[in-house]
Symmetry: C2
Subunit: 347 residues, 2 copies
């Protein structure tokens, strides 16, 4: 029978290639050089050093995100000077989930770091749907707010769809509105916003000069917030895209055909070395906590892709953490900035 995508084969004997593969990303890309001109972070250096016989280039999401934030800060300050407008992002948090509170705090800090105003409302766990909708309505009408973000998940008594649908599409910086997704899927149409995480994945490919056109791409996972829009984005850039999901009977075989792999399933180390075509580029969206007694926290974060195996087969790979993660917030800032620019017709 098929090995379910959620039960990866445990045998890892074959296909752990030890040879060096040509690195396709790289030095011919002007944009990539722009990034390289800032010194690589020490963390990335240590990752490269610790991987034995590694051949893959590490795609440094932290450095790229920093670069993008710097670009945004320049734009924000230009806009303020030229038209007196400061982009504003409103974040609505309902309840007191610790992880959500951390995400919201990080978004707030990121806004501050680039000069974007951040407004935040923290509603109690037992808030009614109507109360949440009232806040959205206020932010929809508030000219100082250019982006509205509802931190998910919401408490179970609140209908997530109703809440997300209430966000005015011009301020839907998350890009989750069906109208945005429809435009993303259609040729000749353009969405107002592209969802942040998949947008960050593609931006990493762009900034590292990795060509997408005509490439085989496999997206593992078909969630509304990552997998599905990532597949649509890759297709917009002329990749030949296959979406692998929980019902796929031979995920390993299909994934091995890919020049570009984007994995977003939330299964630690599911994609083994044997799933990867030598020289493939890997964007790992998964951020999965696994037990780690050696860590003071008792756990560590790993991706969907078995990093130690993949780095020996792939030509480039994002680490976890420090890969896609920092890009998501950078793209949220970028969406907020472009929303403010659009609303105020500022180029």
């Amino acid at each position: 029978m098929a090995s379910s995508i959620f039960n990866p084969p445990s045998s890892t004997t074959a296909l752990l290639l030890r040879s060096r593969h040509p690195i396709r990303v790289g030095p011919t890309s002007l944009r990539f050089f722009t990034i390289r001109s800032s010194p690589p972070s020490s963390r990335v250096l240590s990752i490269v050093a610790s991987a034995t016989e590694a051949s893959a280039k590490v795609i440094d999401g932290k450095a790229v995100a920093k670069q993008i934030r710097e670009e945004i800060a320049v734009e924000v300050s230009k806009m303020k000077e030229a038209v007196g407008v400061i982009p504003g992002l409103a974040v609505i948090l309902v309840g007191d989930r610790k992880d959500s509170a951390t995400y919201v705090r990080n978004k707030k800090k990121a806004c501050e770091s680039v000069g974007i105003n951040s407004l935040e409302v923290n509603l109690p766990e037992d808030s009614t749907e109507e109360e949440v909708l009232n806040y959205i309505s206020d932010y929809n009408d508030d000219p100082a707010v250019h982006g509205i973000l509802v931190q998910l998940p919401l408490p179970s008594h609140i209908n997530e769809r109703n809440v997300l649908n209430a966000v005015r599409i011009e301020k839907d910086v998350d890009g989750f509105h069906p109208l945005n997704i429809g435009r993303l899927a259609m040729r000749g149409r353009d969405p107002l916003f592209v969802p942040c995480t998949p947008k960050g994945c593609i931006e990493l490919l762009h900034r590292y000069g990795i060509s997408i056109k005509g490439k085989r791409a496999v997206v593992i996972g078909r969630s509304n917030i990552v997998g599905m829009p990532a597949a649509l984005l890759l297709q917009r850039e002329d990749a030949t895209v296959t979406v692998v999901h929980s019902r796929t009977s031979n995920p390993e075989e299909i994934t091995r055909q890919a020049d570009i792999i984007i994995s977003a399933v939330g299964q630690p180390n599911m994609v083994r070395g044997s799933w990867i075509k030598p020289g493939a580029v890997i964007i790992d969206v998964g951020i999965n906590p696994v037990d780690d007694p050696s860590s003071s926290r008792g756990y560590k974060l790993v991706g969907d892709v078995c990093y130690e195996e993949a780095i020996q087969v792939a030509s480039a790979i994002t680490p976890v953490p420090g890969g896609v993660g920092p890009m998501t917030i950078a793209m949220l800032l970028q969406n907020t900035l472009s929303s403010a620019k659009r609303i105020h017709s500022f180029e």
Copy 2:
């Protein structure tokens, strides 16, 4: 490895198998028997007879469409009796393209055959965009109209997007509105309407009892009206979908992996026998005129798939004409009926 239920013999050296392959569609399917109970059309019989050593089952779109029209006629009459409402379809035709006029005439006749009211306006070629928009606005407000269809292509001086966007989403029986496409792409969301041609492709698979879940599917072509929504539909039914397009570097190799092929590119005979995995199911959306001196019209219609080769490799295939073509109009009638039902809350 998973064994596909299509169970292709993989060891064959030549891809054009001459032996008979097991027919997987069929007799266990109740819905299929329903169709079989109506006599097969003589045209289909002649196609089968003329293909030497054919093994594929011919998917008779004409017979299925007839069956569906009969089902719709029953529903329309029930609805009229119960709530006094007759579904109405308005068609807007601009200019005097002969092919468009034929399509509109066929739609009108199909409406009549099932008891759906058809309203039609034929505007001159030099109509302004505003004039077209005025008609749409009237139909949007007309309670006797449950579906509005703008026959494409429009004259080049009219902006197609503006016109299509003006159709109220509750009456967009073509299903081309980005909001519909977005909902089609998203898990947990449902479109108000599914575009007619791709819906017809999937309906053929359903009616012939061809299972989609877990199958490899290749969609050739990524148009907004067929390829892209067909891929989204197949994915909704848990196929593992790859979209092959003009930038795909190895379309033959990828297509040969498919259990189900939907081709919608408009290239006569592009998909050869060697592109097809033995036992695959083929839905051919292409309707391409090619020179044929033996025909009184001087041409004949062929699909994207080389029928003579494919019928010897595939397990089931739609002919051209008589495959997907008749299904498109049947699905338009079905969308109009369900629109009327939804508007009048009639189950």
